[in-house]
Amino acid sequence: MQTEYLVSVDEFCINHNIEIEFISSLHQTGLIEITSIKEAWFIDVKQLQQLERFIRLYYELDINIEGIETISYLLQRVNAMHDEITALRNKLRLYE
């Protein structure tokens, strides 16, 4: 059986001192997924790390949602390229 860990969006917003509209905007752009149970919103704990990154970008660096979306996409590409470089480096070691 798979156990899911969900965090209430209301509680998260209170703890992080942020507006619920911000979470809603991230959800609308597809940057985070929200689970709705009996009209209450929840976030999977696996998304918390990324969500906190978005909060820092938005509130501390003044980057808007469109900017966060772009950064998120580029960081995914950077990570994929990083993995590819590692795999290629390992391949090159065959010839060292």
Binding site: N17, Q49, E52, Y59, L61, I71, L75, N90, E96
Partner: protein, 295 residues
């Protein structure tokens, strides 16, 4: 300990207004923020510097003290009174980042001048998980072949970790909760360990497969025979087929590297034959080779 020029770090002059400080800080923070520069140590160091500069220059009291005593920071006695005053005033004026708030992120110069714990706690008082730590662990191929336990010291804390057999060069594993301490009651960050596995003189690895070259003499290559081969799993006996060609390859199934986190599963070992030609032939040998060549 050297004097740190916070104005220079933020690229502003002494007449800069609070707005100038904030703008300069934002500009550099967007460039060097760890969230935008994952695994970049230089960016992290730069970010800590600008964070520290902002901590001082965005706080009128700290800035005043810095401007007054900055270059004469070694006159600790003169600062003592103001330091005591500082420790009593708990309000923060900083608008810096939560990601670099722990005391060890500030320079000795800063701590000497303003004392430990003088860093602000952020304007939003939010709970944040602690900073993620990155570490690199060097292993040799034999270490990575078997599951093993190792004790690491990260930021003064000892952590016992299990490294599963089959870990790959450049692979990163996450140790949850062993990063920096959480901010304002937030959870701890995670520790990421990236493995650097040194090349082995005989076995080359690609994924779960191993590759090696084996020398066989001309006579065994021509007539066939049996050789004993070292693998990471011990010695194996191998039959060499007659008329084996130089560079020909054979695959030993299941004699490669263990598959990561899949117990009992192994890759293959590919052997490439390198046929050695005899040297310093005797007259008799030369005679026989000549005779052979005429057949």
């Amino acid at each position: 300990m050297e004097f740190v020029d916070y104005y220079k770090i933020l690229g502003i002059d002494k007449t800069a207004t609070q707005k100038d400080v904030k703008n300069a800080y934002r500009k550099f923070a967007r460039k060097y923020h760890p969230d935008l520069n994952p695994n970049d140590k230089d960016a992290k160091a730069n970010f800590q510097q600008i964070n520290e500069a902002n901590e001082v220059l965005s706080d009128p009291e700290k800035r005043k003290k810095y401007d007054q005593y900055g270059k004469d920071w070694q006159h600790a006695d003169e600062f003592e009174k103001s330091r005591q005053y500082q420790s009593q005033s708990t309000g923060s004026h900083g608008s810096g980042f939560s990601g670099a708030r722990s005391g060890e992120d500030f320079s000795d110069f800063f701590e000497s001048m303003f004392g430990r714990g003088a860093a602000g706690s952020g304007s939003r008082q939010a709970k944040f998980r602690g900073e993620d730590f990155n570490a690199e662990l060097h292993l040799d191929l034999l270490d990575a072949y078997k599951t093993q336990k190792q004790t690491l010291t990260v930021n003064g804390r000892k952590i016992r970790i299990t490294i599963p057999a089959g870990i790959d060069n450049g692979q990163t594993i996450k140790i949850p909760g062993h990063g920096g301490s959480g901010i304002s009651g937030g959870p701890n960050g995670d520790l990421y360990i990236t493995f650097s596995i040194a090349n082995h003189p005989i076995f080359k690895r690609l994924g779960n497969n191993l590759f090696a070259s084996v020398n066989i003499d001309l006579y065994t290559a021509v007539l066939g025979g049996e050789i004993t081969l070292d693998t990471l799993d011990g010695k194996v006996k191998l039959k060499v087929a007659p008329e084996t060609q130089n560079g020909s390859k054979i695959k030993l199934k299941g004699k490669g590297f263990p598959v990561y986190k899949k117990e009992g599963q192994f890759g293959d070992l590919q052997i490439s034959y390198n046929i050695t030609i005899p040297r310093n032939l005797t007259d008799k040998q030369k005679e026989l080779f000549t005779e052979l060549s005429k057949l």
